[in-house]
């Protein structure tokens, strides 16, 4: 098929980039030799455990830890009284790692212990006696906005967070009046959670000078280091060092973008006990005490003219923030992107309120708000197309984004393969061939940041590259591999640039003592930003090698080429040398030198201004998903028959790992669409296990085709854009649209369970 063929490279023949090289650490993992946080034991290590609140909202009247302290093998018991006043978590610092006086959710930490064994630590928790005075809780964010609602934090006087999410581009009121067709709907999404197969955990220890080392499976080593240094400062440990070591990470998906109570509590316990302290979550804790994707209530109104051109989009959201504030409260900054810029629409209004409740607090999860916003937008696109009497695919193509566009938010669209993605889906899925009863097709598109995302002062990543005497490379990157494959992306980029093989490149990304700064593995930014950081370092070393080789081979430096572990002068077989040999010559000569380079790449993107405008990413990733479903009208069960996920990735640095990102994203998205829900009842998690939290299993796996559209982005490393998150962004609306196509019911509340489908079918039939 022409439109999904890999675009030939115009610059030069590539020998490593673009190849499906297996993940560099896969053999270690396949042999069971990879060490995760679960697997690490240090000499003298103690085991920490955390006690959580028994109520969603309560005053702590009294805590008695004497029996726990007296238990043999217990080294320390901490309560909120032992936490320094300034030790708080979250970007607005509203959350101490152990609460004092008041708890505001079931996951609030009330005490912690360290003991010589896990069993003793657990026993000690049972011996802590706490007297609570239960208070009325508030669990519905819209009710929490009402004037007489109980307050989650009384001193704030309101449950609504002070966040700036209020924008108006163009003139929505005028555009609405001039629209030929307008639709208005309400959508809701609920809590889902990352379900990393490796649960969360940390080991903290101090050296004799009170410098901290912490092992943690974090996605943000540099920002975590900053958080930990702030904790040390709050503990009175000024001017100390905090070293963050990342073991192999058993899944991230956004869950590890903040620092958490277990890490800060491990630090407190380790300091108190003068021993390493490990806190490992069990699966129940992982469900209860890690942060979810934030639930939303979404009101959307959009319109088009008689030719099907979008005229305006007006959206309002209420986000359940939970009892404390983590990055969940900033997801509207990313929601703004699809709201203002998925398809061409000049007049856009968006208001989001993040509201405190006594529920669990939300955080980042793959897509960072985009899946929620896109669920509403793309469901509404189908509703509007139907009202306007237009073909839903044609309607999308009329409004497609294109290269050279600047959107109302100020996003500059550079490379854009949206139309090609839509065409690829159309070609693969045969939309008009749904004669079978209960079978239907759906489509939905996406825009996502693909070239970094400046939501912090720096969006940069550093890389240090050194070559040894044998032609091998060690590259120390700020970027984080959590299974998605950044180690390969880094190695393939460096190998390509230096004429080496991927196996010649050792990628070190595990230790803040040796790796430079990076803002974190989020926003699908690592291939683009960490990739460019590595590429820049490789280019610097390459230039040095060329200069040296020029002297040895007696040819102009710029003409020296690199391939198959050799440097050579094209056209003269005599002028060639293995890179290793050249490096040894450079090293072992008078005034010898070793070849290394450092590079810090900070993309030329912009923070949003006060008007919330700004080109937050250097480039944007696009995609379109199509799905064919069969709905059983007797049971309401939805079966996914076929799935096509077409993505504009700039360039596929590694097609094998790229497919893995897309497949994994789609299946996570299908869970979001159909099965996954953390059931909260008055703030309490009712399904903290894999029996009742319904992930897709091997039995549920679906056929997925993943056409790759290569648009060769001008700023991406070898033209690549990010692809980590996009796979799960348009999945839910594609499924919802297919269900409507199949049986004529529109489900506006995720997940689309058989119960909801059945109820809607009954309502439609007038039962």
């Amino acid at each position: 098929m022409d439109n999904i063929e890999v675009t030939p490279n115009q610059d030069r023949e590539l020998s490593v980039v673009g190849k499906p090289i297996p993940k560099l650490d896969a053999a270690q993992k396949a042999m069971g030799r990879a060490e995760y946080i679960q697997d690490i034991k240090l000499p003298g290590m103690l085991y920490g455990k955390i006690l959580y609140s028994k109520f969603a909202n309560a005053n702590i009247v009294k805590i008695d830890t004497s029996k726990a302290k007296a238990l043999a093998g217990v080294h320390a018991v901490l309560t909120g009284e032992d936490v320094p006043k300034k030790m708080k978590m979250g970007f607005i610092k509203d959350n101490p790692p152990i609460k004092k006086g008041r708890v505001s959710s079931f996951r609030d930490e009330v005490a912690a212990v360290a003991a010589i064994s896990l069993d003793i630590a657990k026993k000690a928790l049972d011996l802590i006696e706490i007297e609570y005075e239960e208070l009325e809780g508030i669990f519905d964010p819209e009710k929490a906005m009402e004037k007489d609602s109980p307050l989650v934090h009384e001193h704030l006087k309101s449950n609504v967070l002070k966040m700036p999410w209020n924008i108006h581009y163009g003139d929505v009121e005028k555009a609405e009046k001039e629209s030929a067709f307008v639709v208005e709907d309400k959508f809701t999404t609920t809590w889902v959670t990352h379900c990393c197969m490796g649960t969360s955990g940390a080991i903290a220890l101090f050296d004799a000078a009170d410098n901290l080392t912490i092992y943690s499976n974090t996605q943000i080593p540099s920002l975590a280091q900053k958080d930990f240094l702030e904790s040390l400062k709050a503990m009175g440990l000024e001017n100390k060092r905090a070293r963050v070591i990342k073991p192999i990470i058993g899944g991230g998906f956004g869950s590890k973008l903040d620092t958490y109570a277990y890490e800060h509590i491990a630090i407190l316990l380790a300091h108190k006990c003068k021993k390493p302290v490990k806190i490992m979550f069990d699966r129940v804790e992982e469900f209860n005490a890690t942060s979810t994707r934030q639930p939303t209530v979404i009101y959307i109104k959009q319109g088009c003219d008689k030719n099907g051109r979008l005229t305006f989009r007006d959206m309002r959201m209420v986000l359940d923030n939970g009892a404390h504030t983590s990055w969940g409260a900033t997801t509207p900054s990313v929601m703004l992107m699809p709201i203002s810029s998925l398809y061409k629409v000049e007049n856009v209004k968006y208001n989001a309120k993040c509201v405190y409740t006594n529920n669990t607090y939300s955080q980042a999860m793959r897509g960072y708000g985009n899946p929620q916003a896109t669920f509403a937008i793309e469901s509404s696109m189908d509703i509007l197309a139907e009202k306007a009497g237009m073909d839903r695919i044609e309607f999308r193509k009329i409004n497609k984004n294109q290269s050279g566009d600047e959107t109302p938010q100020g996003l500059k669209i550079t490379s854009c393969g949206l139309e090609e993605c839509i065409d690829a889906v159309k070609e693969e899925l045969k939309f008009d061939n749904n004669s079978e009863k209960g079978v239907g097709t759906g489509i939905a598109s996406l825009i996502h940041v693909g070239g970094g995302a400046r939501i912090y002062g720096s969006d940069g990543c550093g890389a240090i590259l050194k070559m040894d005497d044998y032609g091998k490379v060690d590259i120390f990157t700020g970027g984080t591999d959590m299974g998605q494959g950044l180690d390969n992306i880094t190695a393939q980029i460096v190998a390509e640039e230096l004429g080496l093989l991927a196996e010649d490149i050792n990628v070190v990304h595990s230790d803040t003592d040796v790796c430079p700064w990076d803002v974190g593995a989020h926003a699908s930014r690592s291939t683009f930003v960490a990739g460019n950081a590595a590429l820049g370092a490789a280019k610097k070393v390459k230039k040095k090698i060329q200069e040296f080789a020029s002297k040895i081979l007696d040819v102009p430096a710029k003409d020296i080429k690199f391939k198959d572990r050799n440097v050579f002068f094209p056209g003269d077989p005599e002028k060639s040398m293995p890179i290793g040999k050249l490096l040894r010559k450079a090293h072992f000569s008078p005034n010898g030198t070793m070849l290394m380079a450092e590079n810090f790449y900070d993309p030329d993107n912009r923070n949003m201004g006060k008007d919330l405008k700004g080109n937050m990413s250097m480039t944007y990733s696009f995609g379109a998903h199509g799905v064919k479903v069969k709905v059983d009208e007797e049971t309401g069960k939805v079966e996914v028959l076929e799935y096509v996920a077409a993505h504009d990735v700039g360039r596929a640095i590694n097609p094998l790992l790229l497919e893995g990102q897309v497949y994994g994203g789609v299946v996570m998205g299908l869970g979001y669409a159909l099965t996954e829900e953390v059931v909260h009842q008055n703030g309490k998690n009712m399904n903290a296990n894999f029996r009742d939290y319904k992930l897709f299993t091997a039995k549920d796996a679906v056929k997925i085709k993943a056409p790759v559209i290569e648009t060769i982005d001008k700023d991406g490393p070898f033209g690549a854009k990010g692809i980590g998150e996009p796979g799960c962004v348009p999945t839910a609306p594609a499924v919802a649209n297919a269900i409507y196509d199949a049986v004529g019911v529109r489900i506006k509340d995720l997940p689309i369970t058989p119960e909801k489908v059945l109820a809607a079918l009954k309502e439609k039939k007038g039962d």
Binding site: K23, M31, G198, G250, G251, R283, A698
Partner: protein, 164 residues
């Protein structure tokens, strides 16, 4: 209470004094340092801890260590040949993108091995059935199925690890 048990672990005869309440995953991971067997839930729900006992794939987090007395136990550590050659399943998981974060991989590979040992020609549906108890959050399973199918081909040339 302590009990002395004897069993074959990855081809080696072992005698070990265990506490009666120990699970097999505890014995392997915490006592014997065989960290290749992962524990993802401790409740038999995720399959990360899958090992093979007398040819049957079991969740070692639920299986009591005392019950392996006189039995043959295979773990992920026993699959590769002594010369370092990966077992066909390990190699095909590596080559076909069956591994991302890798936490589920040892369990996936052991469940797949139990299947192929019994049914070398297992088709896609049989593979799906055999892996139904092994959860993966990274891959969407497709490349895992492809890995198992590719391993069937590789198995023809298998030189064999300790567990054959």
């Amino acid at each position: 209470m302590a009990t002395k048990i004897s069993f074959i672990l990855n081809g080696d005869k072992i005698s070990y004094e265990i506490k009666d309440h120990w699970t097999l995953s505890y014995l392997l991971r915490e006592e014997m340092g065989l960290i290749g067997t992962k524990e993802g839930c401790g409740n038999g729900e995720c399959g990360a801890c899958t090992v093979i006992v007398d040819k049957l794939a079991v969740n070692s987090c639920l299986y009591l260590a005392i019950d392996i007395d006189d039995k043959i136990v295979e773990t992920i550590e026993g699959l590769a040949s002594t010369d370092g050659t990966l077992h066909p399943l390990q190699q095909s998981f590596v080559d076909n993108g069956g591994i991302q974060c890798g936490f589920c991989s040892p369990g996936m590979i052991m469940s797949s091995k139990a299947l192929l040992d019994e049914n070398p020609d297992a088709d896609r549906e049989e593979i799906k059935h055999a892996l139904a108890g092994n959860i993966c959050r990274c891959t969407g399973y497709i490349q895992i199925f492809e890995s198992v199918e590719a391993a069937k081909e590789l198995a023809v040339e298998d030189k064999g690890g300790k567990n054959g």
